[in-house]
């Protein structure tokens, strides 16, 4: 067991390193000069040279990458002009844009992203499993078809369309909800929830539709299995069979899938955060890509990567726990 986790952890580190190399490589060839962007419009050549020097962009790319690795493992010292600033061991460098420590920037924004993604996962599970369950209970009926088609529509609507539509409806027209703006959970849990509701729903709709279909097909699969026939043959009611046996069988793969999706969800929060102006890492990523703020981009991409990998490990473990026939390999 512990060997298994050790192996997965090593794999995860490797994956993250590869990702960081890829990001470095892509951004090295991509247009957009971070020094120029940091230096401002109409920056003169001498100043540009100084800024390059300051950001370490005059070094060859592999040296830059080496410095980056050094920062992660042993930290880094930066000159502030008036003194030096130490950036502690997992140091992802300073933002080209305003010299802030990337780790601080991320730490500041993580709560919003976590609020969004955890809420979305909960909601999409509730919605997804709920709709799927309902569709199965009412299988063959009109309701099933309506639910399935509705969930298909959910899959086919981009977040920026559904998000704006929902906002227009609930915030501008009906005025039932506040226009989402992030209130930290620790400040005011109630306001936090009210403000997050719309972003949750928007992003959850996308996932929920997939999960509804998953739940439904998975449950139908289970319902066709022999052990369900056993319980039918013992007079167990259909409701109990669906609620207990079929759901149980469907939940295991969905739990595994949810864990696996949690990571990619953080990636998927980019659009939602941009759409609703939530101060999360996704939004920061979009903006940093546009401003070629490489340290931020690398760090966020690695964070997302780590989330995906960790979630996958958790997912596999949960799956093995839920379905003990599966062994961890």
């Amino acid at each position: 067991m512990s060997l298994y986790f050790l192996r997965r952890a090593l794999g995860a580190v490797l994956v993250l390193l590869v990702i960081s190399v890829v990001v470095y490589a892509i951004f090295y060839v991509a247009p957009g000069d971070p020094a120029k962007l940091a230096c401002g419009p109409r920056c003169n050549p001498e100043q540009l040279r100084q800024v390059r020097e300051q950001l370490g962009l005059n070094d060859p790319v592999y040296v830059q990458y080496w410095h980056f690795l050094q920062g992660i493992f042993v930290g880094h010292d930066y000159s502030t002009g008036t003194g030096t600033m130490h950036c502690d061991a997992p140091c992802f460098g300073l933002s080209y844009q305003n010299n802030q420590q990337v780790t601080d920037l991320i730490a500041e924004r993580l709560p919003a992203t976590l609020s969004l993604s955890v809420g979305v996962v909960v909601l999409w599970l509730l919605l997804g499993v709920g709709i799927g369950l309902l569709a199965v209970v009412r299988r063959g009926g009109l309701l099933e078809r309506a639910l399935i088609w509705l969930s298909l529509a959910g899959t086919a609507t981009p977040v920026f369309v559904s998000g704006l539509a929902l906002m227009m409806l609930f915030c501008a027209y009906l005025e039932w909800l506040p226009f989402p703006s992030y209130v930290p959970l620790t400040d005011d849990p109630e306001q936090w929830a009210w403000n997050m509701l719309l972003p949750w729903v928007t992003l959850a709709l996308l996932g929920a539709s997939i999960y509804a279909r998953m739940t439904r097909s998975s449950m139908l699969e289970t319902l066709a299995e022999d052990h369900v026939r056993t319980f039918r043959a013992y007079g167990v009611s259909e409701r109990a069979i669906i609620g207990k046996h079929a759901l149980r069988g469907a939940v295991a793969p969905i739990v595994a899938m949810t864990a696996a999706d949690f990571g990619s969800l953080i990636g998927g929060t980019m659009l939602t955060e941009t759409m609703f102006g939530l101060p999360g890492v996704g939004q920061m990523l979009v903006r940093s890509v546009q401003t070629v703020d490489l340290p931020v981009v690398v760090a966020v991409v690695m964070l997302i990567g780590a989330a995906v990998v960790v979630a996958n490990i958790i997912g596999d473990t949960l799956y093995a726990l839920a379905d003990r026939r599966v062994a961890l390999r």
Partner: protein, 540 residues
């Protein structure tokens, strides 16, 4: 006379399918008195399970058409509303399904499943009481340490234990009728004997009625009073067991009886041939062959230090209980699996460590017929193509020649040569097994490992396949390794016999010697557990 427990009148069940309507049961009528025991026997597909399902109204809302009358303890199953039907199911009549693994919810503890079913019929029972009852019935069916094992999940049980658990589930509701659909087919003989004993005891104890569905006349002979022989959905013959086995009226019943392999009968007409070949060369030789799966604590040694020789043209039978390593051994012999230890020589050359590429020259000479006729054929390729595969790989023959040869092979194994372009699902189990044999024959091998080639088949088909293998061996001079857990079948084909247990060989010798004078206590136990038609016949 009291009202019968089961009364089936003019029952007909029709399934709509893609290829038209299938009438699985047609005008069947029978009765069962309270406490009586009836066996439904017949070849595969004769409608036995369909009848059993019908008794519990399990065809409802599946699309099947059911006509006629089914009454179970006074309940009209066809007309009953949902609530009444639920009462009948389990409460009046309980069913034990064929496949014990897939018939239990893999996610729930076995005790909980039994308790759940119990509470359906004893609404007043508390959760606790239901759990206690589950432990009680598990104990009753002979699960050791029932209180603890009730918390296990199905995959932690062995096949025999699972079958017991299913019976326990049935007992938990105290039904008046137990319907057991092939309760022992998946089990090896020792376990089968235990289960049959259990059923007998329970009947004696609770006085419940029993309907036993089986294609094994030996099983039926041991366990019931009456026999109903079915064919194509109709009753062929019905009567008390002894009378029927003794003097079957119908040819179909007689054929069925004749096909049952007898353990105490020597292999017919081979000795002289064997004598001819005694000095034959050693084809395949295994020395200390070992195979381990997994690593660390979870490692399993499936085959442990097995030494075995196969001479050209002879048949080596391998028997042993489930999990004793027979399949693993067989796969190693044809090098589908790489041994983790020991030596494997084919015609003097060590092939134990060769890579896939290195093995290619030998592939055609070592073939295998697989245990499961369903999974051993690619459902998406025509059977002709499957058989032609090795010929195409060899690349010696042209297209036309290959087709001709495949037709030839099909004919040889008793199939219509025109079936080249048909797909596996269009064949019955027995026919599929023949396709598998044809495929193994195609590259003209010197040795075929047959892994339980007949276990999945009913007796009639079994007999056909066994006969076919015998003929082929005679005609082509093949060496066979014949793996089975059915001792009677093995006896019919083997020159020499190997008995395996826990990955090791416990006894080895000429077949007749082993059968008639088993040395090892395990072999003795195995032989004793085989249900014998002869006893029934003799008693009659």
């Amino acid at each position: 006379m009291t009202e019968p427990l089961v009364k089936v009148t003019d029952l007909a069940v029709t399934f709509p399918t893609d290829d038209g309507r299938v009438r699985a049961v047609d005008g069947l009528s029978f009765e069962l008195a309270p406490g009586g025991a009836l066996a439904l026997v017949g070849e595969s597909g004769s409608g036995k399970s369909t009848v059993a399902f019908g008794l519990l109204g399990l065809h409802r809302s599946t699309g099947a058409e059911v006509t006629g009358g089914i009454e179970v303890a006074g309940h009209d199953v066809l007309a009953a509303d949902e609530a009444e039907l639920r009462q009948v199911r389990g409460g009046v009549a309980a069913m034990v399904f064929q496949d014990p693994l897939s018939s239990l919810d893999p996610y729930q503890a076995i005790g909980d499943q039994i308790a759940e079913v119990h509470r359906v019929h004893r609404r007043d029972a508390s959760r606790r009481a239901a759990r206690d009852r589950a432990v009680e019935v598990l104990d009753r069916v002979g699960i050791p340490d029932a209180a603890r094992r009730a918390r296990s999940r199905p995959h932690e049980f062995s096949g025999g234990m699972r079958q017991r658990a299913l019976i326990a589930m049935a007992l938990a509701c105290e039904p008046r009728l137990l319907i057991a659909d092939e309760p022992t087919t998946a089990l090896d003989v020792t376990v089968q004997a235990q289960i049959l004993d259990l059923l007998r005891d329970l009947r004696a104890e609770t006085g419940m009625g029993l309907i036993l569905v089986t294609h094994d006349l030996g099983v039926a002979a041991d366990s019931v009073d009456d026999l109903l022989v079915m064919k194509n959905g109709r009753a062929v013959e019905r009567g008390p067991v002894r009378a029927l086995l003794d003097s079957p009226a119908e040819t179909y019943t007689r054929d069925l009886l004749a096909a049952v392999p007898r353990i105490n009968v020597r292999r017919p007409g081979v000795p002289e041939q064997r004598a001819e070949r005694t000095d034959d060369t050693v084809l395949l030789e295994a020395k200390g062959l070992t195979r381990r799966f997994g690593r660390g604590k979870r490692a399993v040694t499936a085959v442990d230090d097995v030494s075995l020789t196969v001479r050209a043209g002879e048949t080596v039978g391998v028997v042993g209980e489930s999990g004793s390593g027979k399949t693993t051994l067989g796969r190693m012999l044809v090098r589908l699996l790489e041994p983790t230890g020991g030596e494997l020589r084919y015609e003097g050359r060590d092939i134990g460590g060769l890579s896939d590429r290195g093995l290619r020259p030998f592939r055609s000479e070592l073939q295998m017929v697989f245990q499961d006729p369903v999974s051993s054929l690619n459902p998406r390729r025509s059977i002709g193509e499957s058989i032609a595969d090795p010929l195409r790989v060899a690349g010696r023959l042209g297209d036309a020649e290959i087709t001709a040869r495949v037709r030839d092979l099909l004919e040889r194994v008793g199939l219509d040569p025109g079936a080249y372009h048909r797909y596996p699902h269009e064949f019955s189990g027995g026919q599929r097994q023949r396709v598998g044999i044809a495929r193994a024959l195609a590259p003209e091998p010197k040795l075929i490992v047959c892994d339980e080639p007949v276990s999945a088949l009913d007796v009639t088909t079994q007999a056909q396949v066994v006969r076919l293998l015998g003929e082929l061996q005679r005609d082509l001079g093949l060496a066979l390794v014949f793996i089975a857990h059915d001792l009677a079948v093995v006896r019919q084909v083997s020159d020499r016999l190997v008995v395996m247990r826990g990955g090791r060989i416990v006894e080895e010798g000429p077949a007749d010697a082993v059968y008639e004078k088993p040395q090892h206590p395990y072999t003795q136990g195995l032989l004793a557990a085989v249900p014998r038609l002869e006893q029934a016949e003799a008693a009659a």
